[in-house]
Symmetry: C2
Subunit: 431 residues, 2 copies
């Protein structure tokens, strides 16, 4: 099911290259279709959304917005155990994200100068929640909680209607728990465009977050700049580094927890132990039988999974930093040391008892993470993602007088005489 | 030269709409040309860069990289007054940006749980510096200083060769002051592609920052995701709010300091004073005569300038927040109050003695700011722009045992049995 290779051959580099390719290319047909949808929604608003909803979702709700009572009812009617699990998770997620909040600052000088940076939440954020089997309550929590902590004024959710024309009740219950302000039953590129431009029903937002299919992702990419977006998420990934202290039962289980997402998902094990490599491969075969998504898992592991036997820890670390994985588990004798050694990673799971689903659902750090090697430069979703900064500056006449010479000199050097002039007119005796 | 209109007519809304349109549409021809350049550089590296350099810049330097001695010489040979002005500016810029630095954090719990967020600088950043009259030393400082403070490992500059095949000496001097590590003589989309993919000469970077023409901007947009980018900068803007305490001489000078950048630049004055409106219009006519870029200024003010007479302060504030200007000056009796009133702005300049060029060159806050209304959701360039975050998580067996029930419940609810399995295999006695 999964290939085992030795590091420093060619196989692991081919794998890295193939992982990069998964998310890459923009599909011209999809781009053309999405461009048409975006233009229609910009020009005709709700009417266009209604037409596309009928076309893609079969029928369109009479009103797009879900009634507040319906949202509250979804929470009341949900299984208490499910609600309690969400509440426990929310507590942890909020505790972690509270630590991320940046403060405004101000600096003052004796000559009266005041300057600083104001930090505040975005006014309104749109959250896309996919329909069908990809409608995940945990995703609602992970997107809304940092937005709330950032002080976002209003969170607006869009989600496609189910076949019967109603909203998924688990998603509504999660929306109620996470404090979503308004919910609209629409999906696809048309919902993204409605959020970006605003329609009679849907208010215009400042940023759109949340996962979606290729149409949703393409709409976000095309509307970037008209509105801010979170990131273009590629297929999910896990990389595990293990030495001979690792338990192959855990390794196999954790690899498959990633592989079940998608046939494009990637699960890669790096290990310094030949024995661990072989036993993990055997464990994969053993455990996959009892999992509901065995078909997806088998294909994902065959296409994008690999066990790579490394000669030393340093080789595992170098490969990890090259791959820049979304999730990485460390199952070695010294897991905490890796915090400083893995430079390119979305989220690190350290030790035998920190499986990736712990982070997906419960522990606190965000599960919206950079994929496809972009952890080299992108960061997990967080409170920062929902803040905007602006600077302010107040100079006194005395302070500007002191600063005038270098400013005029630099402006003149750049050939910008009107820049220099704005200083000079304030000190006509000098210039 | 500049229209004067009354607020709450239609004219100011038409202006806002026309400002939005300036930056907007993607040019298909440019996109096609840039796509070809990007593909060529990805496939053929330096050879392709060399061909495009000859084609667009007339000739190609024998080696792309500028010798370290040449960079140091540029600083030694530069006018001492110019160098000193840069050094004073750098001190202020560094002091302000030092306040922005985020720290890593760690949280610990009694049950042994450790989690946190590691924050660190990007490994390598590319800075694009345009050639010709848009080669601004101040831009080198504003881009490099926050990168240095963020802890970026290496800063690589690209800039097109001058007609004689050498680098602009002012830019080299600024690079030496700001601590640029390597400089390459190449420009346009080919230089951006070289930074994004790496070539034999140019190392691959994690993020590309800096201004550029439509080809550079399009290349950055197309390569976003392969590499991070700063923002897609539109034409520059200033908005001024003034009451009858404002000095029309200063107002006119400050409006023109923005207008001289570009015929697409926008300078708009909001004022509650009819007299200030008229006197400022007269001052514009008077002062423009003595400025070297009078032609650009006249066209910019005629096309994208406006004086809008407002009925009250609240109207000025509402218009400002709608416009979300890159720069805003406040020339009223109570300028500091505006810090909390202007929600959508890149940088605020408060009072009579804080003209915008003070911020462009000297005071400390960054001059790379969101344009075209994107201050609604984008922020000034800053230390954050050069940081990446990642989270880490370490659970003990005891802690995971306590958390297992809600995790399994949520995973089951989402139909992800392999996620649940990764918890269950760790507690076979329970499940």
């Amino acid at each position: 099911m999964i290939p085992i290779v030795r590091a420093d051959g060619a196989a692991e580099w081919e794998l890295l290259a193939s992982l990069r390719r998964r998310s890459g290319e923009v599909d011209r047909k999809v781009t053309a279709a999405v461009t048409e949808i975006i233009d229609a929604v910009r020009e005709r608003g709700d009417d266009a959304v209604r037409e596309y909803t009928v076309k893609f979702d079969g029928r369109c709700p009479e009103t797009f917005e879900v009634n507040r009572d319906e949202i509250n009812d979804a929470l009341t009617l949900a299984e208490p155990e499910f609600v309690n699990a969400m509440l426990s998770a929310m507590e942890n997620i909020a505790a972690f994200h509270n630590r991320q909040k940046q403060q405004s600052f101000i600096d003052t000088q004796e000559n009266g100068v005041i300057m600083g940076q104001r930090v505040r939440g975005l006014s309104r954020v749109g959250l896309y929640v996919p329909g069908g089997t990809a409608a995940y309550p945990s995703s609602v929590l992970m997107n809304c909680i940092p937005a709330r902590i950032a002080g976002v004024g209003e969170i607006v959710m869009v989600t496609p209607p189910q076949k019967d024309g109603t909203a998924n009740p688990d998603i509504l219950a999660a929306a109620a728990v996470a404090g979503v302000d308004r919910v609209f039953l629409m999906g696809g590129a048309q919902a993204v465009a409605a959020l970006a431009y605003g329609t009679d029903s849907v208010p215009r937002v400042d940023k759109i977050v949340g996962p979606g299919n290729i149409y949703v992702a393409t709409a976000k990419r095309l509307l970037y700049g008209t509105v801010d977006i979170d990131m273009i998420a590629g297929p999910s990934e896990i990389l595990i580094a293990a030495d001979d202290t690792a338990n192959p039962v855990y390794l196999a289980a954790d690899m498959m927890s990633q592989a079940e997402h998608d046939v494009l998902a990637s699960s890669v094990l790096l290990t310094t132990s030949e024995r661990v490599a072989e036993e993990t491969a055997a464990e994969l075969e053993r455990q996959v039988e009892r999992l509901s998504r065995a078909g997806i898992i088998r294909k994902s592991l065959a296409d994008y999974g690999m066990i790579i036997v490394c000669r030393c820890e340093a080789e595992m670390i170098a490969l990890a930093n090259e791959l820049a994985p979304e999730h990485m588990e460390i199952m070695t004798a010294n897991p905490l040391e890796y915090i400083g050694k893995i430079d390119n990673v979305g989220s690190l799971f350290l030790g035998q008892h920190s499986p990736e689903p712990l982070g997906d659902y419960f522990a606190g750090p965000n599960h919206v993470l950079p994929t496809s090697g972009t952890a080299r430069f992108f960061s997990p979703l967080g409170v920062d993602s929902f803040l905007k900064r602006s600077s302010f500056l107040y100079y006194t006449r005395e302070a500007l007088a002191e600063a005038q010479v270098p400013i005029v000199r630099l402006a003149d050097r750049e050939g910008l005489t009107a820049h220099a002039n704005s200083i000079k007119v304030r000190f006509p005796d000098v210039w």
